[in-house]
């Protein structure tokens, strides 16, 4: 909070890009370059998806759920259909569970590589950014080869999946595994070893393990703080119980967990390698069998119409756990109530903690460190409350500010 009149500025970061699932504004109280406190205001574009669902049947809501987020679209529908399957006591065939796990892991690789590249871009490490973007294309191509789409895959349905795994898919995934094992370290090793990267990411945006628990941080954010929390291990869903997933924590690789941006980088990049191992196990272990519990949609819908109850499901999405809660009423075709808790919803609560005592030039990096939403910062307004002057700082200027700091360090 403002200590003395005229010494602190309030800087709102946001409002946000139309295409994002969770538009967020961060109001930063700064004393010079140092962030004193932060207030977060989400909801610049609340689309009311949960309300729309109340006028739709569960099958229609799958397509709504898929459009909550562009990157973890499959995570959202998996969480949703699992919640419905729990209420309706629908048993998903093993083969379908394997296929779902496969798409979830491909999505995780996609999300993590994209994030790691963008993190490098934010600090001005453009060569690493371009490498990251090039690496990401492979997983996008593989997803396209399997599903026909690059973003919203349209693969999941209640009780199973809509697309079968073929020898062609297996070949594409084997190629992907070989490709990333060969090329991924070309991107990550220079980043781990770079002294400037260490200077920019080490001890920036620190979230202690204690705060991570109290502020309900999730996914790579909480694992970056050193806690071995991964739902794939703690409460395995789909086929994950077969894969013995161990939570990735920075202390296993760098000896200690500081809970800073660097640790979150380590967790995400190491999880890409972990996902490759899981994909290998999926290729080896995928059983033969049915794809769906009930292939006839009208029959499935009339079954769901007779279901009464509530279901909750949480899965490990790339950014943290994604929770969906659903209520169904007997005799009603449409969903009674649906709650979606995307990972950023929880992770954003800990931003004010991470911002405290950081430099303004690190703000983009800290925001970026929980969620790959760099376009959140389309526009920034700087308000000098003492003089009542306002000026608009473009995203470009702020990025430049962030990069300028890297250049200063390289010269110094």
């Amino acid at each position: 909070m403002a200590t003395e009149k005229g010494t602190t500025y309030t800087i709102p970061i946001g409002p946000v890009h139309v295409g994002l699932k969770e538009p967020i504004t961060a109001w930063l109280n700064v004393d010079g370059e140092r962030i004193v406190d932060a207030t977060i205001r989400p909801g610049a574009i609340h689309r009311g998806i949960e309300l729309m669902a109340q006028k739709r049947n569960p099958i229609q809501v799958i397509y709504l759920a898929e459009r909550i987020c562009g990157i973890c679209s499959f995570s959202h529908i998996t969480a949703f259909v699992e919640a419905v399957e729990k209420v309706a006591k629908i048993e998903v065939p093993r083969r379908a569970q394997y296929i779902r796990s496969m798409v979830l892991e491909l999505e995780r690789i996609h999300s993590h590589i994209l994030w790691a590249g963008v993190a490098c871009y934010t600090i001005g490490f453009d060569s690493a950014f371009h490498l990251g973007m090039e690496l990401r294309e492979k997983v996008m191509d593989t997803l396209e080869a399997f599903t026909g789409n690059r973003v919203n895959y349209g693969v999941g349905t209640i009780g199973g999946v809509r697309r079968d795994f073929t020898s062609k898919t297996a070949k594409a995934i084997r190629e992907l595994i070989v490709y990333y094992r060969e090329h991924f370290h070309v991107f990550t090793d220079p980043v781990y070893d770079d002294p400037i990267v260490a200077a920019r990411m080490r001890d920036v945006g620190v979230l202690t393990a204690d705060d991570a628990v109290r502020y309900v941080a999730l996914g790579p954010t909480v694992r970056g703080s050193g806690l071995r929390t991964d739902i794939r291990c703690a409460q395995p869903y789909e086929a994950y119980a077969d894969f013995d997933v161990k939570p990735v924590v920075p202390q296993d690789y760098f000896g200690e967990a500081r809970g800073d941006v660097f640790d979150r980088f380590v967790v995400r990049t190491m999880e890409v390698l972990q996902s490759l191992e899981i994909l290998e196990m999926i290729l080896e272990g995928i059983p033969e069998g049915d794809l769906v519990w009930e292939p006839k949609i009208p029959k499935l819908l009339s079954y769901l119409k007779n279901v009464e109850g509530q279901g909750m499901s949480c899965i490990e999405a790339p950014r943290g756990d994604d929770t969906h809660a659903i209520y169904l009423t007997k005799g009603e075709e449409n969903i009674t109530s649906w709650s979606v808790r995307a990972p950023t919803y929880s992770n954003a609560v800990s931003w004010p903690v991470m911002f405290r005592n950081q430099e303004l030039a690190d703000a983009p990096l800290i925001i970026n460190s929980v969620d790959p939403c760099i376009s959140c910062m389309e526009r920034i307004m700087v308000t000098d409350s003492a003089r009542g002057v306002e000026k608009v700082v473009e995203k470009r200027t702020l990025t430049e500010l962030c990069r300028e700091k890297t250049r200063r360090m390289m010269q110094g």
């Binding site: 609340h46 703690a234 409460q235 509530q310 909750m312 808790r341």
Partner: protein, 186 residues
């Protein structure tokens, strides 16, 4: 309200299994356990021990005690509050989970349901204990009109700044959305 400092994630003495948590809750609540449902599946590691989620319903008066009781087992990880307007009452479900960082197949979901009558829509806030609940409580406040006693910041989260705060979008009664609040895009 006292600060909950039992951060058991880093200092867990023992990890209870799903049936043990269920029995512990049954014993703790006794007759106040209004309903109990379970969604289980069989564990891979420990044969025949079911895993899964528990759904319990408690009266509002016992709610804080239940959360404190869960806190003696492990720091309850808070997911979200989901709600449903049932006509006479508003039902809130607090979704928690226990033993998230305790190893393979240890996590247990505990959803605590509370039914509030519409003439007294108020709940004690969990915010002093678990600061991570802030957005969820503010969301339920703006969407269902349930007040949270002890929550510091009651500003809007998702609705626009100029929103009429006597309209609660997820209610199905006269305070709910009217056609003029819905903007059709096509």
């Amino acid at each position: 309200m006292k600060e909950n400092t039992t951060l058991a994630v880093t200092s867990l003495s023992e990890v209870l299994s799903f049936p043990e948590v269920k029995t512990a809750l049954q014993e703790f609540l006794g007759e106040d356990l209004l309903s109990l449902e379970e969604y289980t599946r069989v564990s891979k590691a420990q044969d025949c021990v079911p895993l899964g989620d528990l759904w319990i319903e408690v009266p509002r008066s016992r709610f804080m005690e239940v959360v404190e009781f869960l806190g003696t087992l492990d720091f309850p990880h808070f997911h979200v509050i989901s709600g449903n307007d049932e006509g006479e009452k508003v039902m809130l479900s607090y979704h928690f989970s226990l033993y998230r960082a305790a190893g393979f197949e240890t996590q247990i979901g505990v959803s605590v349901k509370v039914r509030l009558s519409k003439d007294m829509l108020s709940m004690p806030s969990l915010w002093p204990m678990i600061p991570g609940v802030e957005y969820s409580e503010r969301e339920i406040l703006e969407l269902y009109g349930v007040d949270f006693v002890g929550l510091e910041n009651k500003n809007l989260v998702f609705l626009p700044e100029d929103w009429d705060r006597s309209v609660f979008p997820k209610r199905r009664d006269e305070t709910g959305l009217k056609p003029e609040h819905i903007r059709k895009l096509s």
